[in-house]
Structure formats: structure tokens, C-alpha cells
């Protein structure tokens, strides 16, 4: 008897425990639990929704397939983890009481709240919120190829708005927003875009790698990852080797200020030479040629004198044959000629020039790659030959142009005289050669 009672109570306890645990599981595990089953009773039933809603389209909006979260990052959540206040059963009232994503995704939420998207979402109502990019129920992580935030899909996701003329016209119509206006169009053709779309490289930079995923800020904001001050670091997060060299170069932050160099210009950052959305392979001839103008936009005098040389002339014609800025000065480690580490430091010139001019020697590198013959004090060796040649050219041409013009005039006068019937006598040869009196 005693054992029977014990057995019964044990069975009851087990049954109770089983019930309790089943209930708990049901509350937390969607797809199989009672919570989803309960929500799904109505929200997965199209006929029921159609019969019990009044506004057109409301039934579709409220429809959630029973496996909506299945396989998503939120697979383990119950409906009521996000949609609070609906435990009371049917009929419940429509409510905006959605648990904010940042309840769990704390950092992302903070970043988003500080972003330009959050500000515009609040003010204008047409900027993306969490669900705008991540979707609502089937939220997939960025590693899932089906996710809109998968690296290969991000450009398309951002392009939905940033390729829309209405959005561009509203937010990016100011001067200096050219790169933003062309971003969606240009990026797929850039080296990063081609790597993503053609080569399928998930490690290639996409929108969110440079602009960040959540803390998206305009370039003029100091906190922005694409602010000038932050660009080397942003690009350097992938191009780490270049960043290190660049920051130590004359263009880099760590280099002491050089007096008189490119006055009135900021030191360039990556995008000043490479652009942001039109980046092409740096070994493309067309880009190599066009980059000279970018250097020249600050180094005006050097740019001018470069084109006085054969190097510059061929480059200006658009051909990639002769030395361009970076061939002598390097692409990222440019330094003034006074710096012993510079590729154009006197002791390094033989090896620098020798890249193209095999057998270049110490004599050879005494060539002035940027000589200006009109500068007498700086280049007296070039000034006098230049002055002589210029004078010779001007003198010879002036003299003979006068000679020819006078000749023409004389022949015209003589012919006019002949037509007028005033025939010369005593002159030798035809009328053209007549003398005066």
C-alpha cells in the first residue's frame, strides 16, 4: 500500500513535471512549441485572417507562415519575445509594442541610433530601420548566402535606395556629393565591385566595409569611417601593408610638415588618388595615365615641368609608356628628395632610374626630371641654351615673314600698276620683277 502510494505520487510528480516542461518548451521554442502553435492558429490561417479582418490587405500583412523563423538567426525565439503584450489571447488589439532589436543587439542598436539612417528615418520616414535591411521574420546572419546582408548581396541591398533617383535627389543633391550620387552605378564596375560580382570574392570591400553597417555617417561627420581623417584607417583595415607605408610617407600623418610643398592643399588620402566608388586596378594603363593629373592637382609646378620632358609628353598624349609620377616617386612611399629613404634621394636615383634605363649611371641621373629652362637662377645650364634657341627662332621667323610679306606687297603693287596700263619700260623681265623709280 505504501509502495503503491509512493508509486502513484511519483507518477503524478513525473506527469506534472512533464506537463510543466512541455509548457515551458512551448513558450520558448517556436515551430514546435505551444506559443507558436497558438499564434499560428490564426496568423498562419489565411481563411481565418480573411474572415476576421476589415481593411483590405490587412489579412496579408498579418499573415505569418508557421515556419517563418525556421532556419533563421532567431529560430530559438518565440513570437512573444519580440511581439510583447499579446499573451492575453484572442482577440487582441493591434499594437506597436515590438521589443526593440537593440534589447539584444545592444552595440548595433547604439551605432544605428547615431547613424544618419536613424536621423532620417525619424525625420523623413524613408530611411532604413533594422527590418529595412535585415527583414522581419526570416532574419539571416551575414554569413548566410541568402541573407540580404551577405557580402555578395550588400551592394544590391544598399542600391535599392542609393540607386533610386528620388532618394539621391533628396539627400545627395549638394556639391561634393558626386561620389554619393554615382555610387550605386559606379561601384559594380570598380575593382571592389568586380571582385564581388564577377569573382565572387566575399572578402572584397562592399558598402558596409567602408561605410560600416550600422554607424553609417556622412563623410563630413568626424566620426564617419569615410571622413578624410579616418580614410587611411578604413582602407587600411584590409590594405594594412599600404596603410603602414602610407602613414610613414610624406603624405602620411606621421611625416613632419614640409615647408612650401603644395601649399594650400590638404595632404591626400587614399580616395584622392584612387576615388571611392570608381577604384580600378592600379596597374591599368588608363588609370596610371590619369593619376598624373591627380598628383598635379596639388603639385602644380612639378606637373608643369613634367610635361616639358619626353616622359610627360607621352603621358599627356594618353599612352602608358614613359615614367609617370609613381614610377619615380613610388605609389605610397613618396618622400622629398632630401629624405634618405626617398626613391628620389640622390643616392637612390641610379636604382630608381635604372628600373627603366638599364645601365643608368651616376652621370645619367644628373638629368633634371623637372627642369625649368625659364628659371635662370635655378637652372642656368638650361636657361642660356633655351634663351638662345628662343631668340634664334623668333629672329629668323620674324625676319623672313617680313621678307615674304614685303615681297607679296611689291608684286601686288607692280601687278596693279600693270593692270592700270602704266607699262614700265627699261625693266628686265616680266612685270612682277619691275623695280620702282
Amino acid at each position: 500500500m505504501r509502495s503503491l502510494t509512493r508509486s502513484l505520487s511519483l507518477a503524478a510528480a513525473l506527469a506534472l513535471a512533464g506537463l510543466l516542461s512541455a509548457g515551458a518548451a512551448a513558450a520558448q521554442a517556436p515551430g514546435s512549441g505551444a506559443g507558436v502553435v497558438q499564434c499560428a492558429k490564426c496568423h498562419a490561417d489565411r481563411d481565418f485572417l480573411a474572415a476576421n479582418t476589415t481593411r483590405p490587405g490587412q489579412d496579408t500583412a498579418l499573415f505569418v507562415p508557421p515556419d517563418a523563423l525556421h532556419g533563421s538567426a532567431h529560430d530559438t525565439l518565440a513570437c512573444t519575445d519580440c511581439h510583447r503584450g499579446f499573451e492575453a489571447g484572442f482577440p487582441h488589439r493591434a499594437s506597436r509594442m515590438v521589443v526593440p532589436c537593440e534589447t539584444c543587439h545592444e552595440q548595433e542598436g547604439k551605432d544605428y541610433d547615431a547613424s544618419i539612417h536613424a536621423r532620417n528615418a525619424a525625420r523623413e520616414g524613408d530611411a532604413p530601420t533594422c527590418v529595412g535591411c535585415h527583414g522581419s521574420h526570416a532574419v539571416l546572419g551575414p554569413d548566410d548566402p541568402d541573407s540580404p546582408t551577405y557580402p555578395l548581396n550588400v551592394a544590391g541591398l544598399c542600391g535599392r535606395c542609393h540607386g533610386d533617383p528620388a532618394i539621391i535627389g533628396r539627400y545627395f543633391n549638394g556639391p561634393g556629393a558626386e561620389q554619393a550620387r554615382i555610387a550605386a552605378r559606379a561601384f559594380p564596375k570598380s575593382v571592389h565591385g568586380i571582385a564581388l560580382t564577377r569573382d565572387g570574392l566575399v572578402v572584397s570591400a562592399t558598402c558596409s566595409d567602408c561605410h560600416r553597417a550600422h554607424l553609417v555617417l556622412p563623410a563630413d561627420s568626424p566620426r564617419s569611417s569615410v571622413n578624410r581623417a579616418n580614410i587611411p584607417e578604413t582602407c587600411g583595415s584590409c590594405h594594412a601593408g599600404v596603410e603602414r607605408v602610407f602613414e610613414a610617407s610624406a603624405h602620411g600623418r606621421d611625416y613632419p610638415e614640409q615647408p612650401g610643398v603644395a601649399e594650400g592643399h590638404d595632404k591626400p588620402v587614399c580616395v584622392d588618388c584612387h576615388t571611392s566608388h570608381q577604384i580600378v586596378r592600379a596597374d591599368q594603363p588608363a588609370w596610371q595615365v590619369s593619376t598624373v593629373a591627380r598628383c598635379g592637382s596639388c603639385h602644380e609646378k612639378l606637373y608643369e615641368t613634367y610635361f616639358d620632358t619626353y616622359h610627360g609628353q607621352v603621358t599627356r598624349l594618353g599612352f602608358d609608356l614613359t615614367a609617370k609620377c609613381s614610377d619615380c616617386h613610388t605609389a605610397h612611399d613618396m618622400r622629398p628628395a632630401t629624405d634618405p629613404k626617398s626613391s628620389v634621394f640622390a643616392a637612390n636615383l641610379v636604382s630608381t632610374c635604372g628600373q627603366c634605363h638599364e645601365r643608368a649611371n651616376a652621370n645619367f641621373v644628373k638629368y633634371y626630371a623637372h627642369g625649368d629652362p625659364t628659371e635662370r637662377t635655378q637652372y642656368p645650364r638650361l636657361y642660356w641654351p633655351w634663351l638662345f634657341m628662343t631668340f634664334l627662332l623668333a629672329a629668323v621667323m620674324t625676319f623672313f615673314v617680313i621678307h615674304s610679306v614685303l615681297w607679296m606687297v611689291r608684286v601686288a603693287i607692280n601687278r596693279g600698276r600693270r593692270v592700270g596700263g602704266d607699262h614700265e619700260t627699261g625693266s628686265r623681265g616680266p612685270e612682277d620683277r619691275e623695280g620702282g623709280r
Binding site: 619626353y310 594618353g318 649611371n361
Partner: protein, 284 residues
């Protein structure tokens, strides 16, 4: 001449044809034309790389590598005719004893008469004297000759420097290549400007000769032409009784047409090139 409007100045007027240039001299001048046009066409796009036409011309020539090859090929032709001329003249002077090439009326060497002719020419321009009469070479032709002589020496030397810089850097400092670039480009521009305006005017385009003079191609011209252009030479030859030995039959029809074609082509290309120069210079 008024009654005979032949297209070719050398074919206008009366008289038998008189020989003016030897086949050797005519051949050299053809080589001068071909190489000079080639050198100018391939050099101008570099010199005026900023001009709007420069890239198209360079593309038309096949790009800087092809243009460089054409330029060097024409340079070799230039050195060739220069050398051939020097050998020929030396041979004539020293082996055949034609000392009159150095001095005398036949010579290319400038003389006091050239200076007097120049002065008289200016007086003629202002109607104060008759037109000067010239010997075998007028002062303009002598200037043309020495301009080419000086030009080939200067442009040729500087061009060799730029062609073989590492060789010349064995014994010359690198800044000579800067000077070579300046001299090469400016002297070439002078030659281009001079040949395609002044030389063209003096020998083809001035009213007495317009539009062409083929004497350098056929090597002959009418006695009337020779009387007008080189009256003193004709007079001298007649006096010496040597005019008869210079009389030559007219050029064959084919040679004449060929000469016209070459002449007009060369003047045409030259005119296009000088227009490009002016375009670029005025744009600067």
C-alpha cells in the same frame, strides 16, 4: 609668262629646258622631303602634346613606339643624305678639283654679293631699285641650304644624345639631355616653321611661282624661268659658251606628272603640319 599659265613655274615661258640639278641632287632632295616630313609628323605630337589634335595624330601614327621607330628611321635617312652630300661635295672639290664649289659664282658659300642682293631686295620691296639678279644660288637658297646643314648637325647631334642616353652618360652629365631636349625641340620647331612657310613661299607659293615649282624634281626649267630666277648664271654660261651643254630635253610626261604629284603632296602635308603648329601655338 603672262600668256603661259602652266601649273608648274619651271615649265612656264619660252626657250629650251636648261638643266639645273643633277639626278643625284634630285634624289637627295626627295630623301630630304620624305625624312623631314616623317620626322616632323612624329615629333610634333610630342612637342605639342597639349594640343587637341596631338593624341589623334599620335594614334594615327601608331602610338609612341611606332612613331619613335618612324622618327629614328627618318633620322637614319637624314644622316644618310647628309653623309652622301658631304662625300659628294668633298669628292667634287678634292678629287675632281671643282674648287668653284667653295668660292665663285657657283658656290653655296655666302658672299658679299648675297648681302648686296639682300639689301637690293629690300630696296626693290620699297620700289627703290630693280629686282636683284641672282647667280646659281640666290641668298634665300643659300640660307635654305645652310639652315638644313646647321639643322641636321644640331638636331642630329642632340637627337643621338636622346636616342642613346645611357651611352652618352658614360662621359657626359645627365643635364646635357635637358639641353639636348630644348635644342632638339626648338631647332626642329624652327626648321618646321621655316620650311613650311618661308621655304614654301620662296620656291612655290610666291606669286611668280604659284602654285608649284618642279625644278628640284625634274632637275630642269625653261630658259625664261632660268633668266628670271638665275639671270646672272645664264648670262655667265652664255658668255662662257657653256649654255648649250646645259640644254636638256623636257621631262617625260610621266616624270613631269610624278613631279607634280610629289610636289603637291609634300606642300600639302607640310601645310597641314604648319596649320597644326599654329593651332597649338595660338591655343597656348
Amino acid at each position: 609668262m603672262t600668256e603661259d599659265r602652266s601649273l608648274d613655274a619651271a615649265a612656264r615661258g619660252r626657250g629650251p629646258y636648261i638643266r639645273r640639278f643633277t639626278p643625284f641632287q634630285r634624289t637627295l632632295h626627295i630623301l630630304v622631303i620624305i625624312s623631314f616630313l616623317g620626322l616632323v609628323a612624329t615629333g610634333l605630337p610630342l612637342r605639342f602634346a597639349y594640343a587637341p589634335w596631338a593624341t589623334d595624330v599620335m594614334r594615327f601614327l601608331g602610338g609612341p613606339v611606332a612613331a619613335g621607330l618612324i622618327h629614328r628611321l627618318c633620322a637614319i635617312i637624314t644622316f644618310g643624305y647628309f653623309l652622301a652630300h658631304l662625300v659628294n661635295v668633298s669628292w667634287r672639290i678634292f678629287r675632281k678639283g671643282e674648287r668653284h664649289l667653295l668660292w665663285g659664282p657657283d658656290s653655296m658659300v655666302p658672299s658679299l654679293k648675297d648681302l648686296r642682293d639682300l639689301v637690293q631686295m629690300f630696296r626693290w620691296f620699297f620700289g627703290k631699285a630693280p629686282h636683284p639678279r641672282f647667280e646659281r644660288f640666290s641668298y634665300m637658297e643659300k640660307f635654305d641650304y645652310w639652315a638644313v646643314f646647321w639643322g641636321v648637325a644640331i638636331i642630329g647631334t642632340s637627337g643621338l644624345f636622346l636616342w642613346f642616353p645611357t651611352f652618352f652618360a658614360r662621359f657626359l652629365p645627365g643635364w646635357v639631355f635637358n639641353i639636348a631636349s630644348i635644342v632638339h625641340g626648338d631647332e626642329a620647331l624652327l626648321a618646321t616653321s621655316f620650311i613650311f612657310t618661308i621655304h614654301f613661299f620662296n620656291v612655290h607659293l610666291r606669286p611668280e611661282k604659284f602654285p608649284i615649282d618642279t625644278v628640284i624634281f625634274t632637275g630642269r626649267a625653261t630658259a625664261e624661268y632660268m633668266e628670271e630666277e638665275h639671270g646672272l648664271e645664264v648670262e655667265r654660261l652664255r658668255r662662257q659658251g657653256r649654255l648649250e651643254e646645259r640644254v636638256i630635253e623636257p621631262a617625260s610626261r610621266a616624270a613631269y606628272l610624278w613631279s607634280l604629284a610629289v610636289g603637291f603632296t609634300a606642300v600639302g602635308i607640310g601645310t597641314v603640319l604648319i596649320v597644326l603648329v599654329l593651332w597649338a601655338v595660338l591655343l597656348r
